[in-house]
């Protein structure tokens, strides 16, 4: 086995390159220190107990500055490079395919917008950016795919996201990286990267009757959301809300992303849309599990893209 895990995402290359930069700098520094110490240790070894006392050298400010500034310049490169890559890795492109993941002691539940579901498996095509939306049902987990050089903690109470674009078809490890209890080391699975054609076939073979947004629409009726948000307008209309800025009663503006929608369902009064009353919508915290919640969110997202619905509500 080599020193690198397989490179299977567009970013893996970049992370490896930065890693190699770090290894080279570190190796040079380490060698430098080792060699210099070795030379000094040999050259200036005490040959007999009566050797004369060496002359004291109290230091040199130029030297101190040199060995402070030069390493720091290399570190600035590490900082800039690492930060750039980090921001890129956590800023999903707009055209990314969505995949939704729920972590639960001790399994990963994956949902695709088309309604396909898997446990401890993730299937993705090559050549398309994939955006993961991560939620946790219980404790903190971490969705880690070494071949993509990416992970992110899955923090209960919030949505965390990251994105990647797979490059090499194959099967890769999927690990939970944040300790989550007894079977933490069994909370593992596989990521299968396929070429786009096989991926379409795979999606078709696993297709269920209802897509995520269909399921969400059912929940929308079941929980009575439809009454206020569509029928009698006591709640803000939800068409064309997703990914748009929303004016709040406290004067602030928020972007209605997935996290906002999640919060708006679970704790509606934490941020109230301007023009609407607080304490009208019931609190759904503890009433709805993460998978269903994702379906609702996906449904609301779908409203933003459907022209028919947006006509129904000019906003």
């Amino acid at each position: 086995m080599g020193l690198f895990p397989p490179q299977a995402s567009t970013t893996a290359w970049h992370v490896d390159a930065l890693y190699v930069y770090l290894v080279v700098i570190s190796a040079v520094m380490t060698l430098l220190i080792f060699v210099v110490i070795g030379i000094f240790a040999f050259k200036y070894r005490r040959r007999s107990p009566d050797d004369p006392m060496p002359k004291p050298i109290h230091g040199s400010v130029p030297l101190e500055l040199t060995w402070s500034v030069i390493p720091f310049l290399f570190m600035l490169v590490m900082f800039a490079w690492g930060t750039k890559l980090y921001f890129e890795n956590y800023t999903p492109p707009r055209d990314a395919l969505d995949v939704y993941v729920v972590g639960k002691q001790w399994m990963w539940k994956v949902q695709y917008p088309g309604g396909q579901r898997e446990i401890d498996e993730l299937h993705v095509p090559t050549g398309r950016p994939i955006k993961l939306t991560l939620a946790s049902e219980d404790v903190i987990h971490s969705f880690y795919i070494p071949a993509f050089r990416l992970k992110h903690d899955v923090v209960p109470g919030s949505y965390q996201t990251y994105w990647f674009e797979a490059t090499e078809p194959g099967r890769y490890h999927l690990f939970c990286a944040e300790y989550c209890g007894t079977n933490h080391s069994r909370m593992i699975g596989w990521v299968t990267v396929m070429d786009p054609v096989s991926y379409q076939n795979w999606l078709a073979s696993g297709a269920s009757n209802a897509s995520m947004s269909d399921l969400g629409a059912k929940l929308f009726e079941k929980y009575g959301c439809i009454t206020c948000h569509v029928t009698n307008h006591t709640g803000p209309p939800l068409n064309n809300v997703f990914n748009h800025p929303v004016q709040l009663t406290d004067g602030r503006t928020a972007l209605a992303d997935e996290a906002f929608l999640r919060q708006a369902i679970l704790n509606p009064n934490s941020r109230v849309v301007r023009g609407y009353q607080p304490n009208v919508m019931p609190v759904y915290q503890g009433q709805i599990d993460e998978e269903s919640l994702l379906q609702l969110v996906v449904y609301i997202k779908s409203l933003a893209q459907s022209p028919m619905n947006s006509q129904a509500n000019p906003q």
Binding site: D250, N267, P268, N269, S270, P278, N279, V283, Q285
Partner: protein, 220 residues
């Protein structure tokens, strides 16, 4: 290090003179108060974060803080700080009776504070505002957030009250020591140090009071 220096009765063997000993004790107390700042600082940090996350809920929950009791307690504690400062002054002047009077007043005021605190806690108990399984809140949408505020309220005021109880114990010791003529105008370090501690506990309350009782009161 002279023999004369060691002849002083309250001088510990490893110090050179009483000046060094007093300096060390005072600095030690200040360093201790430094740790106390950070100890409460952790809770102030948590408070700041949650207040920032849930301003509405915190405003709603602070309706249930009893400003009359809290305000009275603030005044009581400030008054006790005054008597403590006067106690230190009496010690400086070597006035034993005055010292005992002011220490006792401080202790009494401390007990008044704790008594009022008890009634306040009791009120919270009656209203089911103790965080945990029995917690109730009249605005269900703020139930959880309000519970966090009450959690912080009890953690912060509870820790503060614990410091008060320790302080009361220390004051009692001082009174006994003073009654036994242990202090003089030349040596009254314990009075001085426990004074610092008492004032610190006062300062913590000075910050707790607005944060827990006042902020967000005007919110409707």
């Amino acid at each position: 290090m002279t023999l004369a220096a060691h002849a002083e009765p309250n001088l510990k063997h490893h110090f050179d003179d009483s000046a060094q000993q007093l300096d060390s004790s005072t600095l030690g107390m200040w360093v201790f108060l430094l740790t106390e700042i950070m100890f409460f600082g952790g809770m102030f940090g948590a408070y700041t974060v949650y207040r920032n996350l849930y301003p509405e809920a915190f405003a709603s929950a602070s309706r249930f803080m009893n400003v009359v009791m809290g305000g009275t307690n603030t005044a009581v504690l400030i008054f006790s700080s005054l008597t403590m400062a006067l106690a230190v002054r009496s010690a400086q002047l070597g006035r034993k009776k005055q010292l005992i009077f002011f220490l006792s007043s401080t202790l009494f005021l401390g007990c008044v504070f704790l008594t009022i605190k008890y009634f306040e806690y009791h009120e919270k108990w009656v209203d089911h505002h103790i965080p945990g399984p029995g917690f109730r809140f009249d605005e269900p949408q703020y139930f959880h957030q309000a519970q966090i505020l009450f959690f912080l309220y009890f953690a912060m005021t509870g820790m503060h009250a614990m410091h008060m109880i320790v302080g009361a114990g220390l004051l009692t010791t001082l009174i006994v020591m003073a009654a036994h003529d242990r202090f003089s105008a030349k040596w009254y370090t314990p009075v001085e140090l426990i004074g610092l501690y008492w004032h610190f506990v006062d300062i913590v309350w000075i910050f707790l009071f607005p944060l827990l009782y006042l902020i967000g009161r005007t919110h409707t």
